[in-house]
Symmetry: C2
Subunit: 423 residues, 2 copies
Amino acid sequence: MDVQKKINEWLTLNREQAIRLLKRLVQERSITGLESSAQAVIIEKLRELGLEIDIWEPDFTELQSHPYFVSPRSSFTDSANVVGVMKGTGGGKSILLNGHIDVVPEGDPKQWEYDPYGADVVNGKMYGRGTTDMKGGTVSMLLAIEALQALNLPIKGDIVFQSVIEEESGGAGSLAAILRGYKADVAIIPEPTSMKIFPKQQGSMWFRLTVTGKSAHGGTRYEGVSAIEKSVVVIEKVRDLEVLRNSRIDDPLYQSIPIPVPINIGKVSGGNWPSSVPDQVILEGRIGVAPEEEMEDVKREFEHYIGNLGEFDDWFVTHPVEVTWFGARWVPGTIDLKHEAMTLLENNYKKVRKQNPVIEASPWGTDGGLFTKVAGIPTIIFGPGTTEVAHYPNEFIILDHMMEAAEILANMMVEWCNMEDES
Amino acid sequence: MDVQKKINEWLTLNREQAIRLLKRLVQERSITGLESSAQAVIIEKLRELGLEIDIWEPDFTELQSHPYFVSPRSSFTDSANVVGVMKGTGGGKSILLNGHIDVVPEGDPKQWEYDPYGADVVNGKMYGRGTTDMKGGTVSMLLAIEALQALNLPIKGDIVFQSVIEEESGGAGSLAAILRGYKADVAIIPEPTSMKIFPKQQGSMWFRLTVTGKSAHGGTRYEGVSAIEKSVVVIEKVRDLEVLRNSRIDDPLYQSIPIPVPINIGKVSGGNWPSSVPDQVILEGRIGVAPEEEMEDVKREFEHYIGNLGEFDDWFVTHPVEVTWFGARWVPGTIDLKHEAMTLLENNYKKVRKQNPVIEASPWGTDGGLFTKVAGIPTIIFGPGTTEVAHYPNEFIILDHMMEAAEILANMMVEWCNMEDES
């Protein structure tokens, strides 16, 4: 019996235990700061698999000085990263499998048809916060490793499994894992791509624009300058910049995407009295960073553009709009489309799913950017979760996809990890 | 010696005690809810003048059912209105002198060069919160009454002095005084008009517009509909409505005013995450109501206009902008330009100041609207405070103006209150 068939049979036999594992993970509400109980489930599984386990709380002080560090918190106490290494017999290529254990909060429970932490299985889907983003992907990775072990398949290169914290708030968990020294010849992150393969990921940064007006009584509003009306100009001009930035993108991976690197203004607040002309408005948004762009270049272009708004409206000459960069930041990532790991992933995708994979550039950043830019590890994003339901009420995962992703990963790793390591 | 000269001399002699009275009033921080210590100063003065005094806390439950009632609070405990009546000898026309004792908060103390409650006198100006708006006007009224008394000038009609609460939050104090039954043939309110005479006052109402979008991830913002971008459309259309409404105004009193009845959008807030397409924006503003307009007609026009935004943008057909009326509301007021009280006020203004008064329509509402619409009392707004500094840091009053306003009022009352009452 060939390897592919063995893997398929083992996975078929172990489907129920895989679903139970996902259920246990989803039932732990691992929002930022509360990751430990879900990590405990991971640790238990890694012990069962007999991997070399490394559990540590990232060192805030050490991370703080890193240029790529962002985090909303001031300590990682009780928020440990977990790594399990399956040592190969030597001489083969290594692979890093990374998943984040943190989930975004469930939001208004009234918008959920299912208990967000109930992990109900209905018609082949499991419902709950984190099913898709990305505990299902994590189960796919663990299943793939377990299949290789259970089937006693010889593996030369190391497999490094990581369950990290804090992806949803900027990637401090993966950054800490990189700084701890974990390396590999390639990385795969099974974020919810709806089974698409993303060799490139858009990065993004948050900006804050402070627009100044001049206060006056609303009854004589002509004596003031409304920061709300000036914000309208800023919003329109930011849209023009978005058009300009996207006009430069000719990557065929972005062919079917209406706006490859959007600039989104997500928050607005200004004024403090309905009867007063508002003298300040704050706009907060996210600027997309193309996979090949440097974040510093994008900052400079944005600041330069906003600094020149006086060309369109004299007011801004004397009252320039202030730009600040704050909060979250996701680094763009990329891997060569002809990289051997890409070829293996595509081939095994075709073998398992009997169809060609969709290969696209992701519209959002992942920790993959950190692996690319900080660790120099080519990274592919490919996972079983459904993109559309990530962060939404009634988040679910299609369980067949979770099993298929595990099968693709297991088959790919058998080939990849037995390739000669030339480094 | 003629009456005018006597009044002038008495006021000159009593300038210092008038400044002391203003000082004592300004030193009491009578923001909403804390009016009692300033009212105590008023009461003491009314006792000294021997007027018939009426002190009462407005009845919240009674007021609540009145169509013109608005208030941010739920009780008037410790916030009493104060009225003092100087009975005439009978048969003459009566006059109501109304001032509000409440002041707006001082705001950021760092923006003040003087202690906001220090009542410092520098170069003929007194600085402090409430000097201009409108404790200085209140002192002018009290001085005028005291002059008539001190000089033993015969007065036929009654003079009703009112020191009310809550003008700054919608006029509940004056409404309560009206409902208590106080009436007169004319009313004067010495709000800070910079010595201009306002026979007409603009009213205003607060509206809230809820603009709906469709949420999406910022990286795929084309899958959502930004409530911020839709708000831009709403803001532009509200500006068009302002143009339309003002194009109908041909009152010569508004000739020199760029926008007679402005619509001001004073507050904006929306979205909750820089990386998400915002699905709701709330705009809060103030719509000016022309002196002759009915507030209900203005509401209907505004609602109808906002309800038809779908003509300009299909989105609003399926996602109509919601209009709510909330918070403060100031009723427009008006008096016939040929009213005898207007003529007397203008004549005495000329006699005292040796120049023609500026007669305009006010850009903001006062409690005068309530006297006009609810009590049917023709009302004139004329006072010594400086319009530009009301509600601002470093608010001040020109003390000469306070004395001149007192002189004009005293002279006018001598004539008005001795006119035959034909009613």
